[in-house]
Symmetry: C2
Subunit: 351 residues, 2 copies
């Protein structure tokens, strides 16, 4: 028998995530040689991701939202990478690396009970030379796909004539992808980007932002007034940052509503005061969630277009690693207070 | 010499419009036979309109907005209908009826000094049998064009597959046009509509709303929960009504942001709390102002398509008349407190 450590969800939060309160590290045992596979595979988990949207899954299960709830008593699950130990599925053989929607557990059998209908089947992945497999939970995973889906589907046309773009939350895995990908497909566009820590401002510059600023030190509205108007705004945060953007968009401007991290923890201060700019400036707002809606039509082209850009160093990655599931709760909380620098990756086991 | 009464703008409001404080009725004299035309026309004003957006023009002139400010000491101006008394412009002759952007004055020479670059040249109009000429400031004027531009350009395609639509501010000149026009082009769509007075609920039913409710008596969110989800939301009001709609849109739903009357008077309570639904539900929001932006491309087809519908009784009108410029201030204020029923028309002189 082998220890099987997991991070279990035990209490619904009111506002922010408190790791010690809302999660529990639970050890059980698993018989790696004998556990029934029922036609599936037994995986050893290597990496799982922390993403801001997980906060939306931490809710009373009767409340509707865009993503399924996590049930109290179940392990957290999210995108991850594992290695196949045993398989009854002809698509996989022992030693294969797979990416998919994985449990926060050292070992698990898939399809498991908690994949909650999420449309992310296990996919065999190849190691990209020189890059850790954890890239499949970041640049080549959900965050990268999010950025690609939003830019490719909603902004490609507009970017041809756009002069300036603003990206909030620019130093995260989605934000850096957006900046680098826009610089690749529309190099004439000047990019203004914000983040909330000095190390992140450095990242914004590394990935090619023309103007990088710390929204805690500088007033977003003033920065945009001085450098705008902006034609496209990629919104990861909503709230007051969105308000600042609304006041500085050009007529006919485009907002891509990708996330609202300022609202994810139900902060009552994160309201939008200048929604009326949407009609005053003839704005278009396109909201989307990754893998969902009409914009998901571009997702099948993702690997084909992006893997070469990763290999050429045009799309880059950076991660902050959390070692062991005992630190996974902190990783889930950190993204809501901006404490991480780079994509938060929980290393469950070494490659 | 003839008396020339005008409504002059004399003070910027902080919040709502107070007629006695912000306007002054000023009488001057005009020599109708001798006043210089400088190549233009002398008009006798018949009707001018009160529209909610005028509140946005009542501001310090250095503040930017989507419409030009009215200068202190100038007459208010807005869409209106007049009759030509004298003309040096070959397009017009005495006795012609014209619609355009007119001063709130009994007589004026056009092009005048205060048309502020508004792209609404004087247009010769024909009397529609059985209908007062004031229809050119309502159903066949700016409000009708607003409704037409928004539905035709942004919603025509979506309405083909939509099942349900919600219209707020449904009893106003824009709202009734939206309801009747959607029922004409997409009769399968069930329409839920709101207004704030019993007489207005009656209007909603007359124009074909399937579910008509008074948002002061019934909770908008509950009505939409019981009758939704909605696929299209025509937003005239923003604020809490928009929030209720955001929570009840179907995935991939469409919001047409036409106005934000709840915000026009800078009411701090009129914030949007659930903007995050835009990404959660993969929503599209299309804002526009009449005659502006790419959606204005459909405006040239307006008369051709709509005049026959008016003559067939498919698009109807209702107005509340205010007699004389001495009551024009009240007409401008009433639209912000829902006091009018029907399009507010200021009768400056009888036809």
């Amino acid at each position: 028998m082998t220890r099987n450590r997991a991070l279990v969800y035990v209490e619904h939060p009111d506002k922010g995530i408190e790791p010690a309160k809302h999660f529990k590290v639970a050890d059980s045992e698993i018989d790696l040689d004998g556990v029934a596979l029922n036609g599936g595979v037994l995986l050893k988990t290597l990496y799982v991701a922390s993403d801001p949207y997980i906060r939306y899954r931490m809710r009373e299960p009767h409340l509707p939202s865009f993503c399924p709830p996590i049930q109290l008593g179940d392990p957290v699950d999210n995108s991850g990478v594992g290695v196949v130990l045993r398989s009854e599925d002809p698509k996989f053989k022992p030693g294969d690396y797979v990416a998919g929607y994985l449990e926060f557990a050292e070992y698990a059998v898939y399809p498991g009970k908690i994949v909650h209908g999420y449309k992310m089947p296990l996919t065999k992945v190849d190691k990209v030379p020189g890059v850790p497999l954890s890239i499949y939970v970041g640049t080549l995973g959900m965050p990268g796909t999010t950025a690609y889906q939003g830019i490719k589907y909603f902004a490609s046309e507009k970017l041809k004539s756009a002069k300036k773009m603003f990206v909030s939350g620019g130093a995260g895995a989605v934000g850096t992808f957006v900046i680098e990908y826009v610089k690749h497909i529309a190099p004439h566009v000047k990019i203004i980007a914000s983040a909330g820590r000095p190390e992140k401002i450095q990242i914004l510059k590394e990935v090619g932002a023309d103007i990088a600023f710390n929204y805690k030190d500088e007033d977003t509205k003033k920065v945009l007034e001085a450098n705008g108007p902006i034609d496209v705004y990629w919104d990861n945060v909503a709230g007051p940052t969105l308000d600042a953007a609304l006041k500085n968009l050009s007529d006919g401007g485009l907002i891509i509503a990708c996330g609202a991290i300022s609202q994810a923890s139900h902060d009552e201060n994160s309201v939008v005061r200048y929604f009326d700019e949407v009609f005053k400036r003839s704005l278009t707002v396109r909201g989307f969630a990754v893998y969902q809606g009409e914009s998901a039509a571009v997702v099948p082209k993702f690997y084909e277009e992006i893997v070469p850009l990763v290999m050429q160093g045009k799309i880059t990655s950076r991660e902050q690693r959390y070692n062991g599931l005992e630190n996974a709760g902190k990783a889930l909380a950190d993204v809501h207070v901006g404490a991480n620098v780079g994509k938060p990756v929980i290393v469950v086991a070494e490659e």
